[in-house]
């Protein structure tokens, strides 16, 4: 058999669910008294699934813990079958799991589980995102007063913005602490959870809706500091103080980089 044909046969065998090889592939192999060709094929067939499942379990420990081994492996197996790996690194194997969950499960199950999966993936993205210089309190202290109104900032590359409609963060925390999982609950009000890396340490924090709106306005929509104050004008004279308080918190958290001037 030509090399390319043989590789095509073996690839199809590894990706397929049937551990029995077709006659052409079987006939292309020699067994030994120690290891038959069937045993050898089965070793690779099993290893393919085991390796990919292990990667997904590693990337989604809370989803795994929530579902248990059997249900997680069924979900992950269906995902792998539908989306065989395209990236050279297993680091990216699980990139589409949350979207897959959305379509694979009934909506009542998919919504909370998909959200938990997105939250876990966001932690992974924060973990090895690109470095960038965080804007510091010291740098801000040195900013001339006339530059404040036009100050613009952006989120650092590691910052992940997750809108949670369920208590996914509580599930994630319970799994991390190896506590019993709380029941899945819809939140009374959707909540933004930020996940980012400060130095080498992963951080997360839930934002109240007004803080989330302000941060989104400044760091995503591109408001400058003066515009933020205008947006907070219903606070009256307290608007600049609230804006400065939040900005100080975001700088302490290490969320922002300077944008433009």
């Amino acid at each position: 058999m030509r090399l390319n044909d043989w590789q095509r046969e073996l690839e199809a065998y590894l990706l397929g669910s049937d551990p029995t090889a077709n006659p052409a592939l079987r006939a292309s192999l020699l067994g030994s008294s120690a290891l038959s060709a069937e045993q050898g094929l089965a070793i690779y067939h099993n290893a393919y699934r085991a390796r990919l499942l292990e990667a997904l379990r590693g990337d989604y420990p809370a989803v795994h813990g929530w579902l248990g081994d059997a249900e997680f492996d069924a979900l992950a197996g269906a995902y792998i079958a539908a989306h065989p790996s395209q990236h050279f690194s297993l680091r990216w194997l699980g990139a589409g799991l949350a979207d897959f969950i959305d379509a694979y499960l009934v909506p009542a199950q998919a919504a909370p589980l998909g959200e938990l999966a997105r939250l876990e993936w966001a932690f992974g993205l924060a973990f090895d995102a690109a470095e960038a210089d965080a804007l510091s309190l010291e740098q801000m202290a040195d900013l001339p007063a006339e530059d404040w109104p036009n100050l613009q900032v952006r989120l650092l590359p590691s910052v992940q913005w997750q809108l949670c409609r369920y208590n996914s963060l509580a599930l994630w925390r319970a799994n991390k602490a190896q506590d019993a999982f709380p029941g899945s609950l819809a939140l009374e009000q959707p909540q933004v959870c930020l996940i980012w890396r400060q130095g080498l340490i992963s951080q997360y924090r839930s934002l109240q809706p007004d803080e989330a709106e302000a941060l989104h306005g400044m760091a995503v929509a591109g408001w400058n500091f003066a515009e933020l104050c205008v947006q907070l004008s219903e606070l009256g004279d307290n608007a600049p103080l609230q804006a400065a308080t939040w900005l100080r918190q975001w700088l302490c958290d290490g969320l922002l980089q300077r944008y433009g001037g």
Binding site: L14, Q39, Y48, F88, L200
Partner: protein
């Protein structure tokens, strides 16, 4: 430069559980081998520790995704990223495996064996030359443990490696454990393999453990080195002289002290073996 004169000594595979202990203890390890793909990321802990450990130890880059024997086009993006990582790491050399890990359509994430045929040889040799042009250095290729053997083989694995090295200029990473595992599984003499390789092309040795499934072995890299592999290692050194030796552990990570102890065993076995090494005049 011969492999002997460039021997780095005795190294360990750099793995995440040991990062902090390595920086704190600065163990007496001559060098570390990294899994290249673990550092093809944008930032964070992996690159931080890579830089910090690289300040104190020589590094070697060892990849698992090149798929040098694959049916697909070589991944130019991967190669460029590997090259950028090499600029950062300044590795002593760059290795991967004589295998394929990607098929026509998908990544298979395994070190799959090739048929040892003339067609495979020409296919792999041409691709090695392309990789070496990009990386601007010889590629070092490792023999894998295998559980399949093609009925179409025209060469033994060692004849194939020797011919590949001759055709492409690549160097060899001889994994002594993989030789032992494949020899048991396929029923050949491990010494035929090792003595059949071009000694001057062997840049590095690997040592690792395997799991015994009765009649056959699986290369799990999660056990201490077995006695027969130590014996084969000693015989290899008596034949080759000093060669950079790396102890690999990829799962069931013991405390760093245990791995350092096993590395000391390697040094001790090597010291005995090298007393009997007679360099060619």
């Amino acid at each position: 430069m011969s492999a002997e004169s460039s021997s780095l000594g005795y190294g360990l595979g750099l793995r995440t559980p040991y990062y902090q202990a390595i920086l704190e203890q600065r163990p007496a390890v001559d060098w570390f081998e990294i899994i290249s793909e673990n550092y093809l990321v944008e930032g964070g802990k992996p690159l931080y520790y890579l830089d910090a450990i690289g300040e104190h130890y020589p590094l070697v880059m060892h990849g698992v995704s090149l798929s040098i024997g694959g049916p697909h086009e070589l991944d130019r993006d991967y190669l460029q990223r590997l090259k950028r990582l090499a600029q950062r790491v300044q590795p002593q050399w760059i290795s991967d495996h004589l295998c394929w890990s990607r098929g026509n359509a998908h990544q298979l994430h395994d070190l799959l064996p090739l048929p040892f045929t003339e067609e495979s040889l020409q296919h792999v040799a041409a691709r090695v030359r392309q990789v070496q042009e990009v990386l601007e250095r010889p590629l070092v290729l490792e023999n894998v443990s295998s559980y399949l053997r093609s009925a179409d083989d025209q060469f033994s694995e060692w004849q194939f490696l020797a011919a590949l090295s001759e055709l492409s200029g690549c160097e060899l990473l001889l994994d002594v454990n993989n030789v032992y595992v494949s020899a048991r599984n396929h029923g050949f003499e491990p010494w035929d393999f090792i003595s059949g390789l071009p000694a001057q092309r062997i840049r590095q040795l690997h040592l690792a453990g395997h799991s015994d499934y009765g009649s056959y072995l699986i290369d799990t890299h999660d056990q201490p080195v077995s006695d027969p592999v130590w014996q084969l290692y000693q015989r290899t050194l008596r034949h080759l002289g000093p060669v950079a030796t790396l102890l690999e552990r990829d799962d069931h990570y013991p405390p760093l002290e245990d791995l350092l102890g096993e590395l000391e065993q390697a040094r001790a076995h090597a010291a005995v073996a090298l007393q009997e090494y007679q360099p060619c005049a």
